[in-house]
Symmetry: D2
């Protein structure tokens, strides 16, 4: 069985598409400001008609971005990146009427049961996940060599010994090409490496250490004293855990700041726009995303990850986006922001990691 | 390491207990009616002072029941079981003032951190569960031979191929001495054995089968036609799954009816009081309970399970009660009904089962 | 503005329906057993073709029941009610091919936005509920005189002073024609009337009363001593609350037993099948249902409530079914059992009641 | 009844405190780096012993900050604000042993029931909230004139017509002295003012507008074109809603950026540290905080809000902190980060606002 479904490109010989006009652009009226009627991208494959039946597929797209078209080059960028005079694609219809075609049927879709009355049309914690897991393992094995796997982590992963060990395994065995997280994940991972606690609670025994609420402040202070995470890891002799594994393996990680942060650690990008830019670098390359136990980072990265990826050879493949969370609300919220392709797995992130570990070993 | 903590009995030579009066009884004024001032049991070990320093520990206790004391025999029964004239224990204090001593410190309790200010004093989905799992595996291995393990199951277990296989393994390998569930668990397990679906959804592929919402009605009808679950299993040749495994292994199961039931299947006890009586038989023997993905059955069985068990040799040991659920609310609710000893594991029941399977294999 | 949408009956002159065969019946092979291929009802209007273009609409239908057809009389009953030889309707298609037509477009449906890409297609706690509330108030005012309003209550309503007062108001002012609940709702309502607590916690101050966990056992015992709820209300002089209001107003209430019950109170129907039968009496008459803070009773009553009601004059109107719950999971679960018409309002039942009270006053 | 409890200061004549040493300081080794053994503040009142029985209460404190002590002046600042050489208070004990006394009993605490066995010791959605509401209304009326009320809002408030109207009322009637939120709240509030939608969904009818997912991008673009929110409000003639009301009333608002943001709007502080600084200005003044439907902003502001406030006259009063959220998890998480004083109200933010409006009108 092949892991990747075959992409079915649009049939541009269809009469309505064959007669479509060429797409229009207008210059941006100022830096970071769009011309009226701008086209906003979705996470689906979108084609621009350059005229004469020449349709151009946008690469490295994302949701709620705009297209700057120069000749045969289209770039998908955030509105704030637009510069005065940039030729921005105009048009809000998606069926070619304005030279823009949004292709929503490129990959086969699981079909629903026939009939006016069905049970279980909604995914919940009671949905059977066995196959989702099996597919995920197959995807990870495939993309380890032939893709780009991005992990988006909330801090809970670092609070439990087994799930932290599991994530370390994932990094050490090539299943993680980039890690996105916040100050808390890094802080608690390093806290665990130094004190074996997360926010003062032993990551194995659950015991609350005396004065344990100092541990995360102490590790932050130690790292700030040394000026950088890699230097602190070296000088403090921290060896186990997620961030040390990333450093050893050369896996890039982006730590995006938030107003909840203590510290922050050196290396955390406290400016949200700059953090988005750093994350987007990985969204452009991602072929599989696993987002665990963080609503903030999951929605942020979900917004910037397209549903498809164009390989260097020009083939179109899906980007798999797995969301692991405890509540239907979190996954509904992601869907309500447009990321309907995301596969939700409703469970505790700890168990998810431990299961994955067992199956990849 | 020993799996079972040592029980520390009360010190009845303590002055306040040494001077305690003998316990008092009063006759029940009618069948199922209690005398004023009756004593209601907790799930802790409770001792009755028979006079002269002779303290009697109640066996097979439960929450919100009453004690009928005849000579040196005390029986803990539900109020509705009381008969006119039964000598019911009277008294509401728990420190011996009325001859009743509730012993809340018989087993060592995990100690909290010192200090006026701590983080992470509440258990949530972010609590590290690695050790809870390791302890659970040790307990199951111990109680397989030397205890009585009761499983309380919601239907979700039967909706997923892997978790259903895992539960079948548990039954087949001696880790389940009794199974408590409802009509839905049995129905969907047999539906899966016959049609490979749960409420019409394939338990592996998630595909909704055409007319799949008939499957559970069809299996119920088939079993009703044959008159009993064992006969239906035989005649329909159903082999995989939880209920067939119980039948093969001779593991008793109680199916308690509820107003949500279709059918019901033959063998389901539709009267709630009779169902409670059938469940209580297993509560009296339980040494470990694992309750999964059902609020109704978990609270019902939690109410009737004591926190301790007296072995035939007279030793007192804890009864371990694990609750696996997705929400803090469910486990808080259990605690709010008095079952504070329950260990909550916040996760999806599917993953819980698959993890367990991996570790017991 | 009219509260009730106009029903659009099927067009039986459509060629496929005009050529439909007459419906078939087969005799039940035994009491409580169905003939193979039986037709199971949905909660949508269903028509049976009696031949010659004569289509008969089933009244008082429900989900997962069967149809017994005698001449021009069709009765929708639970499978367990079927008697040996009853003529049961056969057929599983819903478009007339077997003489059965399930009409899913009788009432106008809110239309979705056009386009391949939309936000907010799923209902969550973030869905705006202002209009749902306004519609609900209009429906309640209408159905107070011209309908049959059924309330399905979990115990939480009785735990809070304001929400309990609000529900008492609803009963006293004609907005409740029948009340369905369990032993716990009645117990805690009477506990509050006697002790001003719910499970021992003051319903206003939240203070935990000393020995408060005896309160619910004491009130149950008092009622059992007196033999019935009405007699206990009279003799104990209980005046405020939900159940006393029902007694004063002559509003029927059904208390369905469950395995979680203490007691139970006299009047609680402990047999699940008999309780279903008592509930179904009200489901047959219901025009509006409000189900609050109880998954068990909500799903049970949702299963037995049709999406439409045929008035004595033969008009077809919708049955409004509101579910008030805190989690998307509960309302998804209801939808996954077929009750897709239910309107979910995601909030705390206490606030829901207090809001309603303010707006109906 | 007085709204504010009386503060009971510590008894410094107690032998252990009378013999306490003077507090110690050490210079910070670098900008943003703390000396080893630094003291981290809690949200409780903390006193420093300056020697000779002279104890100094820190004002405007917060959790996880440090104290810089110069003579009789103590300043509580974030570790990153510390400059090389700043005299930082040292010590980790809280009972005076190192000249630091953390006063955890300054305000009376609701007492628990006696007894070894109680029900309902945990707050959940089933906790009765009537009194919490009544107290909140009294507090708001008091602090409107004599306090400083800070609202912390998630975007959900702007998605519903009634709750948005209610919040506008709160701002217009003096019940809000500062508003803290993110880019999304402001965007969707202005989207509603312009298009009557939230993320494209009508805030009253729930209808999804055609191309509605452009609405938030269009309003962001309009505001960016005009350069500021106040200018856009003026030029676009936006009048209803929360942000326009703040502008009219001169209520300061802080919009903190996050990686989830589109745009962002002009005025949003995209740097997390600068945003924290802007929020802290209001935390220093806050006497009552209401945090609604946002985990990120609630935890961030909870971290920086002390449990007490010292009035200009030197009196110590509590800071009331209400958290309104749908899940026990969110409020447990806040408690697990140290904000145990927070009062949780488990409900939908929409209903909360509408209830409040009714009661303040």
């Amino acid at each position: 069985m092949s892991v990747l479904p075959v992409y079915i490109p649009p049939d541009f010989s269809r009469p309505d598409l064959a007669s479509a006009p060429a797409v229009r652009v207008e210059p941006a009226p100022a830096d970071g400001v769009l011309p009226r009627g701008f086209h906003a991208t979705s996470n689906l494959p979108e084609y621009l008609h350059l005229g004469g039946g020449d349709w151009l597929l946008a690469r490295e797209s994302r949701m709620d971005a705009v297209m700057v078209l120069r000749g045969r080059e289209v770039e998908v960028i955030e509105p704030r990146q637009v510069k005065l005079g940039d030729p921005v694609v105009i048009g809000r219809s998606d069926d070619g009427e304005e030279g823009i075609y949004v292709h929503s049927s490129g990959f086969p879709c699981p079909t629903a049961a026939a009939g006016k009355f069905v049970f279980r049309s909604r995914g919940t914690r009671e949905t059977p996940f066995s196959r989702s897991y099996d597919e995920l393992y197959a995807v990870l094995r495939h993309d380890r060599e032939q893709g780009y796997i991005v992990w988006v982590l909330g801090p809970a992963i670092a609070f439990d010994k087994d799930s932290r060990d599991a994530m370390q395994f994932v990094v050490e065995h090539g299943y993680c090409h980039a890690l996105l997280a916040g100050n808390a994940l890094a802080t608690h991972d390093l806290e665990a490496a130094r004190f074996r606690t997360g926010l003062g609670q032993d990551i194995y025994t659950q015991a609350l250490q005396p004065h344990g609420h100092y541990n995360h402040l102490d590790i932050i202070n130690e790292v700030r004293l040394r000026g950088s995470i890699p230097r602190a890891i070296r000088e403090l002799g921290l060896s186990d855990g997620i961030i040390p594994a990333c450093e050893r393996q050369g896996v890039p990680y982006v730590l995006a700041g938030s107003i909840r942060d203590d510290g922050p650690l050196p290396g955390v990008i406290s400016d949200a726009c700059r953090a988005q830019d750093a994350m987007r670098v990985h969204a452009r390359r991602a072929t599989t995303v696993i987002a665990l136990a963080t609503q903030l980072h999951t929605i942020a990265f979900g917004n910037m990850t397209p549903g498809y990826h164009v390989t260097p050879e020009g083939a179109v493949r899906p980007v798999f986006f797995y969301v692991v969370d405890m509540t239907e609300f979190s996954t509904d919220k992601l869907a309500n922001r447009g990321s309907v392709q995301a596969v939700a797995i409703l469970t505790n992130a700890q168990d998810f990691m431990v299961n994955l570990w067992h199956n990849l070993k």
